[in-house]
Amino acid sequence: MGFEVLLKGNNMVRLLAGLAVSLRISLVSVAISIVLGVILGILMALKNPIITVISRVYLEIVRIMPQMVLLFLVYFGTTKAMGINLEAETAAVIVFSFWGTAEMADLVRGALLNIPAIQYESSISLGLNKLQTYRYVIVPQIIRRMIPLSINLITRMIKTTSLVMMIGIVEVLKVGQQIIEANRKASPGAAFGVFLIIFLLYFIACWPISMLSRYLEKRWEN
């Protein structure tokens, strides 16, 4: 099955270290994406024509450009064009935040615009001021609507970090390939076992996040 290669030397530790790299890149990117995405989302909901045009162009770029191209552009392009020598991980975080911010902003904008006007009007007629309207009426609804979608984004981001191997970062999948290749003669069937373990590692990383979202959704429903 190929599990025996994982017990050789410190292969398992290397895989876990690779997973840590994947998680570090994706979680830092997610944190930045949430902060910037919320800001951009609010801006977009203002329906200012200039902001709308700029954000549309930005969203389209993110949608059209493969993340791989963005990685190459940021990692190698900045050095070629501007002489800035970015660390590979910094480049990866920039690319993933660039992508995540766009998706988060779109979610926030959608959620904000989906709140019917009557909610604002009713709050005012109940005597709530603006701050209270947002605090007690609007924001809770937005958060609830956004949670499943942003969890989806986070898990997608963790999975997409496998691309960073193209700019020399050794993350979990790359370690897996290294282990398989290093044992290609000794245990030719190692691929199955190694990929199964990598699948489990991704699962262990993403499952708690999904559980957290389910818990939060339930808690905020009441």
């Binding site: 800001i39 282990i179 003669k185």
Partner: protein, 329 residues
């Protein structure tokens, strides 16, 4: 009213976010003040003042560290063993370079597609990643003297070994992987041979094992390894067509480093270093028989066909695709 309010939150949120970003930015930069980063920031400072991307030999020696791009998943040329140490034919040579320079080696895991970029941006000083010398690449990077041969090879079943392409009958088909040197070479020089083309290494292999073709043409390193791993098959033609070479590469214009590597390869030739390298790393895969076919000692290619290789270099760019495809196995 509503808009005004939103603007106000926005303003405060923006300030907050900017603050957070600047703080985390500073935090991560200071937290990771590793030696590697110091050298890279030195390099970028250098580059802004001199508008060159690379580090000269003296600058590398001064920094005490050299960045070498190698493959980390191409056994037996460049791979990582179970203790996390880089190993392989290319790495063995890299270690020798580091030792003779008296610097610590920082291995960078590269992919076939990004090797040129790494040198063009000076993110590594040397690429030692099974890098085939081609004319196209030589416009972007500087190749040192070669240390290995690569050519085409043809493998066929043991009971019907094909030792010469003229043995192939009109109805027989030869298996190739699309986009490889083998495909280009056979189409150009043997237009009468019928080819069966596959996109990946895995499909070509399955098809060959099921006997749909009389032979399989690919990079000789690939077919030799295949024949050794699969008894019942034999490499009838170990070296066919244009002979290409594999050489270290440095950033375009980095003459101090290039000259040093060249003189190093020449002096290592005197102690038969690359034969020792072969015996330490490649012999398990290729056996003793192919040592002379594959190893280039002292930068001198024994075969005279090497000179014509450079003129046909444009066809060789696709050999990378073969290497890529093989990694799918």
């Amino acid at each position: 009213m509503k808009k005004n309010y939103l603007k106000r939150i926005l303003a405060s949120a923006l300030t907050l976010a900017l603050g957070v970003v600047t703080l985390t930015g500073c935090g991560s930069a200071s937290a990771k003040e590793s030696p590697a980063e110091q050298t890279s920031s030195e390099a970028s400072a250098q580059e802004q003042s001199d508008s060159k991307v690379y580090r000269t030999l003296d600058e590398i020696k001064e920094s005490g560290e050299i960045n070498i791009g190698v493959f980390s998943d191409k056994n037996p040329f460049g791979y990582v063993d179970e203790n996390g140490e880089y190993q392989g034919y290319d790495v063995y040579f890299a270690n020798k370079l580091g030792e003779d320079l008296g610097v610590k080696i920082n291995f960078v895991s590269t992919e076939a597609a990004s090797r040129v970029e790494y040198l063009e941006t000076g993110k590594v000083d040397i690429v030692l990643a099974n890098f085939t010398v081609t004319e196209e690449r030589a416009e972007k990077v500087d190749f040192a003297l070669p240390y290995m041969n690569v050519a085409l090879g043809v493998v066929s079943p043991k009971d019907k070994v094909i030792k010469d392409l003229s043995e192939i009958k009109a109805d027989d088909q030869v298996i190739v992987i699309s986009g490889t040197t083998a495909e280009t070479y056979l189409e150009k020089n043997y237009p009468d041979i019928k080819l069966q083309k596959f996109d990946t290494y895995a499909t070509a292999k399955t098809s060959f094992e099921n006997g749909t073709g009389v032979a399989w043409a690919n990079d000789n390193t690939e077919v030799i390894a295949y024949a050794i791993e699969n008894p019942g098959y034999e490499v009838g033609i170990p070296s066919l067509g244009s002979q290409d070479t594999i050489a270290p590469a440095v950033s375009k214009g980095n003459s101090t480093l290039l000259d040093w590597i060249n003189s190093e390869i020449e002096s290592l030739g005197k102690e038969n270093f690359f034969h020792a390298d072969y015996e330490a790393t490649l012999i398990d895969t290729y056996g003793k028989d192919y040592e002379e076919t594959l190893v280039v000692e002292g930068g001198k290619v024994a075969d005279s066909s090497a000179t014509e290789a450079s003129s046909e270099a444009s066809t060789a760019t696709s050999s990378e695709a073969a290497t890529d495809a093989s990694s799918a196995e």
